[in-house]
């Protein structure tokens, strides 16, 4: 990984690795932020957690077999995403079963990691750290472009289905009665989350992608009650977090970019939580529930 301590801010853009990072990061941030809004709305953060384990194992499996990490990454996350969708959010078995399955998947990934590390030589250590914690500075021009295009594709799809997805997420029985294919939409959505997980792994790594899915969306939801405003805001905040992470890491090369991104995203969420707590105190809190029992 080539890094140079920055002396001037505009020098930033002269370095190809920075340009690539920002290009990929914008696509990844936009996709993850917009999709993340729905992940939080639909209370499917746990699925993101599961997908992060799968992303890790998928990428390392590909590396262990000598293929491009992204191949294993995307195949695994999309397949499991769709699988989770088919299994259904309601019929979710208890946390012990789910946790055991995904812990085992992680264990499998550790095996692939060992195989990968011993099978080849040289910068293997870097390969697996990249999968774990991201490698946004290590992208070539074509990799960055691919990431940006995939990100754009995800953005187009999620914007197209945004309205029916909001309806189906908030008010499923009525949406179904209105002819929205809620089940199909739910499955396709989780497939989309899989794609985002794979994308985000390149930027912040499998272990941290949950934060990029959850924190900007959580912050946006706290900052506004208008669903579509929160939707766009979530995307913008995610892009901002990635950009700041890249910037900070450029200026202080000891700080990994994924840490910077996560720190910013966490700060956004914490700030939004604090601000909304203050705002809610001014309005009479609590509700008068008339529900009996």
């Amino acid at each position: 990984m080539i890094r140079a301590a920055g002396t001037g801010l505009f020098e930033l853009f002269e370095h190809p690795f920075v340009r690539h990072a920002l290009l990929a990061g914008t696509g990844i941030g936009a996709a993850t932020g917009l999709v993340g809004y729905f992940v939080v709305l639909r209370a499917q953060v746990f699925s993101g957690d599961a997908l992060s384990h799968v992303a890790f194992t998928g990428a390392l499996a590909a590396l262990a077999f000598g293929a491009d990490a992204r191949l294993g990454l995307f195949v695994a996350t999309i397949a499991v995403g769709l699988g989770l969708g088919v299994l259904g959010p309601r019929g979710r078995p208890d946390d012990v079963v789910i946790g055991s399955v995904f812990t085992w998947i992680l264990g499998l990934g550790v095996l692939f990691l060992a195989v990968f590390t011993t099978s080849s030589s040289g910068a293997n250590g870097a390969g697996s750290v990249n999968v774990l914690f991201g490698s946004i500075f290590g992208l070539s021009a074509s990799q960055a472009a691919t990431a940006a295009w995939i990100g754009l594709g995800v953005v187009v799809v999620v914007v197209a289905v945004a309205r029916p997805l909001v309806f189906a997420s908030l008010d499923e029985p009525v949406a179904a009665a209105r002819g929205i294919p809620v089940r199909l939409l739910g499955i396709a959505f989780l497939g989309l989350v899989g794609v985002c997980a794979a994308e985000a792994t390149q930027a912040v790594g499998a272990l941290l992608l949950l934060g990029l899915l959850a924190a900007p969306a959580g912050a946006a939801q706290r900052l506004t009650y208008r669903p579509f405003a929160a939707f766009w805001l979530s995307g913008a905040l995610a892009v901002l977090a990635v950009w700041v992470g890249v910037l900070v890491s450029y200026l202080a090369p000891d700080v990994p970019p994924s840490f910077g991104t996560m720190a910013v995203a966490t700060a956004m969420f914490a700030g939004a939580l604090g601000w909304s707590a203050v705002r809610d105190r001014r309005r009479p809190a609590g509700r008068v529930r008339n529900f009996t029992g």
């Binding site: 019929g91 812990t103 992680l106 060992a114 011993t118 293997n124 924190a215 959580g218 700080v255 995203a265």
Partner: protein, 303 residues
């Protein structure tokens, strides 16, 4: 990876055990593994019963920046493990319902906290110049280089935690199964919750040192869950949980030593296999039973 066993696995058990214990670090590994398996087996049994597996998972994630941070500042990682895990346990205890999986927003908060904790751990490792191996062993476990001090600490702290459990075992069981009735009987349910979370923090810190921060589930959740699938009876369940944990750990250590593959993989695989076996076994046994099958203890959070 260091080539540990020359010649690998023979099929003579006596010879294998001798070679397994040939080196002092392996003896230590087995000692540490056994202690951890016992502690995790007991405390994990209560955790699964109380449906706090999610809290346990979050606590284990915190172990990573704890150990890495300690190394960065130059103190013993043990301090980092126990310090961070216990502090996080108190934090969870301070926020009501923070241990259970709640609304979508709570999930978003927990997901963010987990990711941020891992990011911090990564930062610390990068700052002290740790290589992949550091990250690897902190996240996925390692049994190399366990010192006598470490074994002694694990034993001492683990015994203290178990002592607490033995002391409050019965009221804790009561409060876990039926908090409202227990409270009516004068059991200090809230205090016990806090005490238990701290003890859980200790168990998590111990288990992380063998399985790594990310695979703690394999010792802390899966063997107890397996035991609870087989029997709802507390003493039998506790014993079974510990036995399964020890078996899984020993087999994991042995396989890892002889095959040179990571211990995390073996421990998770054996634990999971045991769980599946128990599930299948009880279903098959249930069909053969003459009277109505006894329903096993429900092990998870209801949907």
């Amino acid at each position: 990876m260091v080539m540990l066993a020359d010649g690998g696995f023979t099929w003579d058990p006596v010879e294998d055990v001798r070679r397994l214990l040939e080196f002092h670090f392996m003896v230590n590994a087995f000692r540490a593994g056994t202690i951890v398996a016992v502690v995790a087996g007991v405390i994990g049994w209560f955790m699964v019963l109380r449906r706090q597996t999610f809290a346990g998972h979050t606590l284990s994630i915190v172990a990573f920046p704890g150990a890495a941070g300690a190394t960065l500042v130059g103190v013993s990682p043990l301090l980092g493990y126990f310090g961070f895990c216990i502090a996080a346990a108190l934090a969870i205890a301070g926020v009501p319902r923070a241990g259970a999986r709640g609304t979508s927003e709570e999930s978003a908060v927990v997901g963010t906290v987990q990711a941020f904790a891992l990011a911090c751990g990564f930062l610390f490792v990068t700052l002290y110049g740790g290589l992949l191996d550091s990250v690897n062993s902190l996240l996925f476990g390692s049994f190399l280089g366990i010192t006598d001090t470490q074994v002694a600490t694990l034993l001492f702290v683990g015994a203290a935690a178990l002592g607490v459990i033995v002391l409050v075992g019965r009221p804790l069981l009561f409060a876990s199964l039926d908090p409202d009735v227990a409270a009516a009987h004068g059991v200090p349910v809230r205090l016990l919750s806090v005490v238990f979370l701290v003890v859980l923090g200790v168990a998590v810190a111990e288990a992380s040192q063998i399985t790594g921060a990310l695979l703690v589930f394999a010792l802390l959740v899966v063997p107890p869950a397996t035991a609870q699938v087989v029997t709802p009876r507390p003493l039998l369940g506790l014993g079974l949980s510990v036995a399964i944990g020890m078996l899984v750990t020993w087999l994991g250590l042995a396989c890892s030593y002889f095959s040179d593959q990571p211990i995390g993989f073996f421990v998770t695989t054996f634990a999971f296999a045991g769980y599946l076996l128990a599930q299948v076994g009880t279903r098959v046994a249930g069909r053969f039973r003459a009277r109505g099958a006894r329903t096993p203890l429900h092990t998870g959070i209801p949907a």
